[in-house]
């Protein structure tokens, strides 16, 4: 075997010029394949790492109240964070994400901006520091100046946005936006930094410290915005983390206990909400027998039904106002709301005699302002549970949307949420593989296109390889006859030619890989100004971004070597099949 290997190498060296040209062709093909793959992988990486993970996160918990998708608020931060921390690994980065579209006025000119919150109050990991440093290449001011607590709200802004709004460091921009309660809000933001955006997505937003932004948007101290979870290996963990959070966020029945005043009589009251869609109205109709009032008004979207015992105790009836006061879950505050009684009912067996059913619209208006204190387990046992036929018609603490498996499903779910048929908070837990599966498809398509283009190029080169081998064999037919005459076996002739080709292809592929890395390094150094061009999204800090992987490079080298071996096999076998006499008689 070493003899055959030596002969093969000697043959390669003997045909220097031809093999060099052949090697260059193979190396070029390998280089193109590796670069194309690294580029498409780079695009996907930019989209995921720079865009998806910082807009959606690998896993996101989002909300919608009354169908309003801009109302990203949940009134119990501890509950969401507990579920997220339990489901996510300790190394996961858990962030609260608040943002809002706004109209900004600079110096005599207005533009749309997105106000985005950056949480600087927590301890940043070295990776996050590195990320912020690469994304916020500060031209003026400091990123950490966002933490300043002086007058005005500190903000940092991209150089493009600053130029458009004709503002500079220290200037004030006025912004108008809709707060989390859907109220018109405004603020004055002081520019404490101007940065060069890492990509086109970073040019439009202006960045504020998260807690400053939350205060502007009207979040309370225990309110939480959407939550993003980023993990090291999202492909492996994202879906299971989302499933875990989803499982832990199961809502219970929404219950308000407090003091009700009816016709001047104060009495303890237990209030539940009921859904007003037609299916729920049917359930309520069957499960709550009215003793006073019209069923259309009682179970409609203005209905308030009081228990017969409660009405009798307070000598109250239809048209009377129930003034309800309840203790808040957080802080010393209490909530107050008035409800006009539309019906009186003999309640079901599993409902307290001081019970009130309130239509979901009015109920949720009260329920979240402020969130009522949790009810005791003893009281819960007296209320309809999930086995009760009435339960599906009763208002839950919030509605947990189902997990989706594709972007299409997710889009349909968002449309459903947007209809606003449910008046409370809707909570959605999704991983980026559902919310951004389109980007995964983009990567797959890009990979396919680059692979196809590379392969076409490579097959053209392979035709050259086959042709060269055929020429080599023809030229060396008499030599084959000689070595066969002095004792070389047919299989050894075959192996000799294959070793020649495999060695040439392997060394050339390696050289191609080295050339690819050199070319990628060179192209990465080029600065491309694509600020106003959508293609700018493919750039990182104005540079092309390649993401070669060791696995892909190794796979391409193996693939090219194997393909060259396969193409060499048939001419080599034909050469090996020649008898010594026939080969030696060969003359051209």
């Amino acid at each position: 075997m070493p003899v055959i290997f030596n002969i093969a190498i000697r043959n390669l060296v003997r045909q220097k010029r031809r093999n060099l040209l052949l090697g260059v062709a193979i190396a070029f093909g390998a280089m193109v394949l590796i670069m194309a793959n690294a580029f498409s992988h780079g695009i996907a990486k930019v989209l995921f790492d720079q865009v998806v993970s910082y807009t959606n996160g690998h896993v996101a918990v989002t909300y919608s109240r009354n169908g309003n998708m801009t109302s990203q608020v949940f009134y119990d931060d501890a509950r969401v964070l507990a579920a997220v921390k339990k489901a996510a690994p300790p190394s996961a980065r858990i962030e609260e994400a608040a943002g809002v579209f706004a109209r900004a006025i600079g110096n005599g000119i207005a533009d749309n901006v997105i106000m985005v919150g950056v949480d600087l109050n927590r301890t940043l990991t070295p990776e996050e520091v590195k990320h912020y440093a690469s994304n916020f290449s500060m031209l003026q001011g400091s990123f950490l100046a966002l933490k300043d607590t002086g007058p005005g709200c500190p903000v940092i802004i991209s150089e493009q946005k600053a130029k458009y709004l004709r503002v500079k460091m220290g200037d004030v921009i006025r912004v108008r936006f809709t707060g989390v309660n859907n109220q018109a809000s405004s603020a004055q933001l002081t520019i404490v930094g101007v940065f060069k955006p890492a990509n086109v997505f970073m040019a439009s937003p202006v960045f504020l410290e998260l807690h400053t932004l939350k205060a502007l948007l009207g979040y309370g101290p225990h309110d939480i915005a959407s939550v993003r979870v980023n993990v090291k290996d999202p492909q492996r963990f994202a879906k299971s983390i989302a499933d875990g959070i989803h499982a832990m966020l199961k809502p219970g029945l929404a219950v308000m206990t407090g003091t009700g005043v009816l016709r001047g009589t104060a009495t303890p009251v237990t209030a539940l909400g009921f859904r007003t869609d037609s299916a729920s109205q049917g359930i309520m109709h069957r499960g709550v027998p009215l003793s006073e009032g019209d069923s259309a008004a009682a179970f409609g979207y203005r209905g308030v039904i009081v228990a017969k015992e409660l009405a009798a105790q307070c000598h109250a009836g239809i048209g009377d106002t129930l003034a309800l006061t309840w203790y808040a879950k957080f802080g010393p505050d209490s909530g107050h709301a008035n409800f006009v009684v539309t019906a009186v009912a003999g309640m079901t067996a599993k409902f307290p005699s001081n019970g009130v059913f309130i239509n979901e619209r009015d109920f949720y208006h009260a329920y979240y302002a402020p969130l009522p204190h949790s009810v005791s387990q003893e009281l819960l046992k007296t209320l309809p549970d999930s086995s009760s036929p009435l339960y599906p018609a009763l208002a839950p603490e919030f509605m947990l949307m189902k997990r989706c498996s594709t972007t299409d499903e997710y889009t349909k779910m968002m449309e459903e949420m947007g209809r606003g048929k449910f008046k409370g908070i809707m909570v959605s837990v999704q991983s980026m593989y559902e919310t951004a599966s389109a980007i995964l498809q983009v990567e797959a398509v890009l990979n396919l296109i680059t692979l196809a283009a590379g392969l076409i190029l490579f097959f053209i080169i392979l035709i050259g390889v086959i042709n060269t081998l055929r020429m080599t064999i023809r030229e060396r037919t008499r030599e084959i006859g000689t070595i066969r005459a002095i004792g070389m076996q047919r299989s050894q002739v075959l192996i000799m030619f294959l070793v020649e080709t495999l060695c040439l292809a392997f060394v050339s592929s390696l050289a191609g890989a080295v050339a690819a890395f050199a070319a990628m390094g060179g192209l990465t150094l080029l600065t491309i100004n694509a600020a106003d061009n959508p293609m700018g999204m493919l750039l990182v800090n104005g540079h092309l971004f390649f993401a070669p992987t060791a696995g892909a490079v190794a796979a391409f080298i193996v693939f090219i070597t194997a393909l060259a071996g396969a193409t060499a096999f048939f001419p080599a076998r034909r050469a090996a099949k020649l008898t010594a006499a026939n080969a030696m008689r060969h003359y051209e």
């Binding site: 009354n66 169908g67 309003n68 998708m69 801009t70 109209r103 006025i105 207005a110 006025r174 108008r176 809709t178 707060g179 309660n181 859907n182 109220q183 018109a184 809000s185 405004s186 603020a187 502007l216 009207g218 007003t276 869609d277 979207y301 208006h365 302002a369 449309e415 947007g418 209809r419 606003g420 048929k421």
Partner: protein
């Protein structure tokens, strides 16, 4: 009867130079304008924006009093012609004539690219949304004033509920008939966002309807919207009007 009592109280307060309670004025204001019957009208909205020029929107508006359902069908501009909106109970649909499709939308979304939202067409009682604002001493912020030559009550109100567009407002209301003449709306940080002028009223079934209003954007100077209402017809409207089929036919 209650209306007359409120009017008598307000007139007495006015003659005596004392300020009436704000809630009394709010009740009288909503009583002044609440028409308890179905209505249809033509609405013209001229929207002037600094960076977009002037656009005129024209629409037919139908409202059913029983359940506050409404239907809007656009007649102009050309880009919106045939499009429409239908709200019945909790459902709010947008109709697009070019695709002949209905799509569920949220009440917070813009109507036909105007500054108006679905919720602006809902009938909500002023006293359920706002209450009089008080100074640190607990006294309501109300004063007798003049708007031009017209004696008015100028007072401040604040939102009682969260889901109103503007949490604070200042109103100028005529002392004689309690019609609103001017309103300034403020953001939660007390920045002046919008000024509305009620330029002309007409009487329908004994109630007042503001048929010409002007809204000035105080945040982005130069933007304003003028709303004119014409062709007001009251009386029961056929239930078939508040259906998708009707909106589709109306748009074709």
């Amino acid at each position: 009867m209650i209306k007359w009592i409120i009017t008598a109280l307000l007139l007495t307060a006015s003659l005596a130079g004392a300020q009436p309670p704000i809630v009394t004025i709010l009740k009288a204001m909503q009583d002044n304008v609440s028409i308890s019957t179905d209505v249809r009208a033509m609405v013209s909205m001229t929207q002037q924006k600094v960076d977009q020029g002037t656009k005129v929107f024209e629409m037919a508006y139908y409202r059913r009093d029983r359940d506050d359902a409404f239907l809007i069908a656009f007649a102009a501009p050309e880009s919106e012609k045939g499009n429409g909106y239908l709200r019945v109970e909790d459902n709010f649909w947008m109709y697009r004539v070019n695709t002949r499709t209905f799509q569920h939308i949220n009440r917070d979304e813009s109507i036909g690219g105007t500054d108006a939202k679905g919720e602006d067409f809902e009938t909500r009682r002023l006293t359920e949304l706002y209450q009089g604002e008080t100074d640190p001493s607990g006294k309501e912020i109300i004063a007798a004033d003049k708007l031009g030559a017209i004696p008015v009550w100028r007072f401040q109100i604040k939102a009682k509920v969260a889901d109103v567009s503007y949490p604070f407002r200042t109103l100028w209301v005529r002392q004689d008939n309690l019609l609103s003449l001017k309103q300034q709306s403020y953001s939660s940080s007390r920045a002046l966002m919008n000024t509305a002028y009620y330029l002309k009223y007409t009487q329908v079934l004994g109630k007042y309807v503001p048929i010409e209003q002007m809204f000035i954007d105080e945040f982005e100077k130069g933007n304003k919207t003028i709303v004119k209402i014409s062709g007001i017809v009251t009386g029961k409207l056929d239930d078939r009007i508040f259906t998708k089929a009707y909106l589709e036919n109306l748009s074709n």
